[in-house]
Symmetry: C2
Subunit: 463 residues, 2 copies
């Protein structure tokens, strides 16, 4: 883990302690907490954790670290899935949780200015009375800064876009401590290089996001959720493909295969859903529009032998359904008590989705592993949760092999190895295969913006 | 014009002629044609014009130019509005018009792979039978490469997004001739820096776009266009603001002020529209959805005293209406025969639009100039066509002063000086004011990607 390259942190920590007092922590439990995310990256403690409260403070911290050559690793909620927040070369973990204010809500412009520590549920709670909503919804209650940095998405993406389409402007502290603003609250702009999108998905390797202007959407007049079952995953996927091609503006269209539904039956018996491949659906619109969408969807699905249509009209039923979907990881783990999950994240053109899932299921069968499948199939994106005993090295190796096979399948079908979880350290080994010479350009950009390689070093691009 | 920095082009042209034969031109009329766009940048001839036919050829051309230090300026249809294609330091104009093939249409994925010389109407003609459409529609019949490079948009943006939201992937020749691919045909990705968006809007200053994968949309089941008049621009704008806030998914909502409508009456008397501020509208959806949208819109508009609602249901009536809108520039010029137009392009948060337009109209009144206003007001973006005699230096100076005033107003309201025309040479003087320290980062990126400053030098960022 690059131990030889590590800087003596003591001089930097002295300066940081003078600035932050008790908001610089070196307590063992704090260090442990900031040394691991939800992935299988080996944990690695930071040298210290800072809890800044303002952009000016972040700028000063970054300047101190730059002066002393100490790495800076931004930390949101610690729910990244590819090791993004693990300080692989030590350094300062910059915990943004105290910068958690919703600064402005512009209801007339459908946008909000937020600090990076605001979480998605916090923002939606604060928005509730305005009639507006923030739509990006990864499984975890992630922070705005973290979602932007990993280019997150979720179940609503098919209709409302990923975080990439939902950030208008950023404030960023650059590696030398300079504070810049990218973009504006204007809806569109042709004014210069698109710096906003450069920092979205950069995983903190180019600077620290200290403020975000995010797009909001009107809460729909009418919402209807539904589940339906199919005889095979293929039939479910073909239904999705046709619905997307017909331009049905569905808000959510999620696949859960028969293995995942076995876990659902264990963890959520109250849903009463059969152990068959399912689509979980949501329709947004006017009352008439929702009725039209449902009718069109049902017509398509009937062509593929849909059964067990169940509608959730009441808010509490809808919330129960989507909470179960967001916690699919835990339902998956119910299939193998004590197991952990190795999670995959490929995304392919939707026309290749049936083939990709078919080959994936073959690979799972050949591996002998248990690996339930859930997917944002309207985007061509799906996850396996490969269930493993993390202490069993042979099984872990098998799981990694299976994940590698599936990633190769996705690349061979014109897709990507990560639709929404990012690169971190976990996906770096695929970057040359996926991007070819373009990965070289990414390294040159990193070098230009962060020549000392102090911003989350070792992630996404290697120095 | 940096004459002292110009390279002797002869050695490069010898090598290029050996490669391209008659597809390298130094004919005076060809050089003139490639030395000016539709802006007021002083024309400047390139040293030669190349007409490449493949990516491999572009790569070889760029390598030859790199070896000899000759600037390369990509050229689409020459319809840029800020001097983007003018070879201000001489060099090779790279005319992409022969790379004009629609390579693949993926109807199941709603995307198409096209060469950069394909124009928007060419693509839509080729798509007609598929039931799909490409939505970005600037006034000119621009090329795909040009639209991507200037981050173009148009009248459909309020519903379908700008070119930024409608490009999935690019092939780009870098300044050293290396060919890279950015992105993939997968709908979303969290895989590395967002190089696609780095090249969109870069105006050819970072590399040459040689292929684009663009998003398509289903042709709507039902389309209805309409015009309506208001007693004041304010009433029209307040109608737009409320309609957007209510989440009406209108496909087009365009403002034409009373001055512009005077020009319309001169150039398009067949439309029979009164000389009052107008909105030109289009609704897309199912038949029921369109009816709902129209009813909601009418209810909102009635609150602001709308009158003279006229619907265009037939395709030919719709086409006539939107052709008139796309040629608004010519209708504007009809107001002052022989005049040319200095065009502005600011874009503000929609809540600031009424104020911005109000102050703009005051500034026009004080200037004594004639300046019709048309706008993609659903995006907060509007244009003036300031009518001037280009031979009258005093009037040109007045027009530039007026444009500067309007740009300052937009910046003071949190907007941008260019919603869709780009920077080129015309808007560089505003970059520091608009972006502050972020403009410095843009320069560093340019330096990192194009250290010899040979890709469209002098545009967007200055070397």
């Amino acid at each position: 883990m690059n131990m030889t390259l590590r800087t003596d942190p003591a001089p930097a920590l002295d300066d940081l302690r003078a600035l932050l007092g008790e908001r610089l922590s070196t307590g063992p439990s704090i260090l442990d907490e900031h040394g691991r995310d939800e992935a299988y990256t080996p944990p690695q403690r930071p040298d210290a954790v800072a809890f800044p409260e303002s952009t000016a403070e972040v700028s000063t911290i970054v300047k101190i670290c730059a002066r002393h050559g100490l790495p800076v690793i931004p930390y949101g909620t610690g729910t990244s899935l590819e090791g993004q927040i693990v300080p692989v070369s030590g350094g300062l973990s910059l915990d943004m949780s105290r910068m958690n204010k919703v600064i402005e809500v512009h209801d007339k412009d459908l946008d909000a200015v937020v600090q990076p520590g605001v979480t998605r549920t916090q923002l939606n709670d604060e928005l509730h009375a305005t009639g507006l909503m923030f739509t990006v919804d990864p499984g975890a209650d992630a922070s705005m800064g973290g979602m932007a940095s990993t280019r997150a998405s979720g179940t609503n993406t098919v209709r409302y876009g990923t975080i990439r389409e939902n950030v208008l402007a950023l404030e960023v502290v650059l590696p030398d401590g300079e504070v810049i603003r990218t973009g504006s609250r204007a809806r569109k702009s042709a004014s210069g290089y698109d710096l906003t999108h450069l920092f979205i998905g950069a995983e903190g390797t180019l600077g620290i996001i200290t403020e975000l202007t995010v797009r909001l959407h009107g809460q729909p007049e009418s919402i209807l959720s539904a589940t339906c079952a199919f005889g095979s995953v293929d039939d479910a996927v073909e239904t999705v493909i046709l619905a997307i091609q017909c331009g049905l503006p569905m808000a959510r269209i999620e696949l859960l295969d028969e293995v995942q539904m076995q876990g659902m039956a264990l963890l959520h018996p109250e849903l009463g859903l059969p152990e068959l491949p399912h689509l979980f659906l949501e329709f947004h619109g006017t009352e008439g529009g929702v009725r039209e969408q449902v009718a069109s969807f049902q017509e398509i699905a009937e062509g593929f032998g849909v059964r067990d249509f169940a509608f959730a009209e009441k808010t509490e039923d809808r919330n129960r359904l989507w909470a179960a979907r967001h916690h699919a990881y835990f339902a998956a783990k119910a299939l193998k008590p004590g197991a952990s999950g190795v999670v995959t994240d490929c995304c392919v053109p939707i026309s290749a989705l049936a083939r990709c899932i078919g080959r994936t299921k073959q690979a799972i069968d050949m591996s002998g592993l248990v690996a339930p499948l859930v997917g944002h199939v309207g985007d061509g994106n799906f996850h396996l949760v490969i269930l493993v005993d993390p202490e069993d090295e042979a099984e872990m190796a098998q799981a990694r092999d299976l994940a590698a096979t599936i990633n190769r399948i996705a690349l061979s079908l014109g897709g990507t190895v990560t639709g929404e979880h990012g690169v971190g350290t976990g996906k770096q080994k695929y970057m040359e295969a996926e991007h070819g010479a373009a990965y070289g350009l990414m390294k040159r950009l990193k070098q230009a913006v962060d020549p000392a390689d102090l911003m989350n070093p070792g992630k996404l691009v290697r120095g």
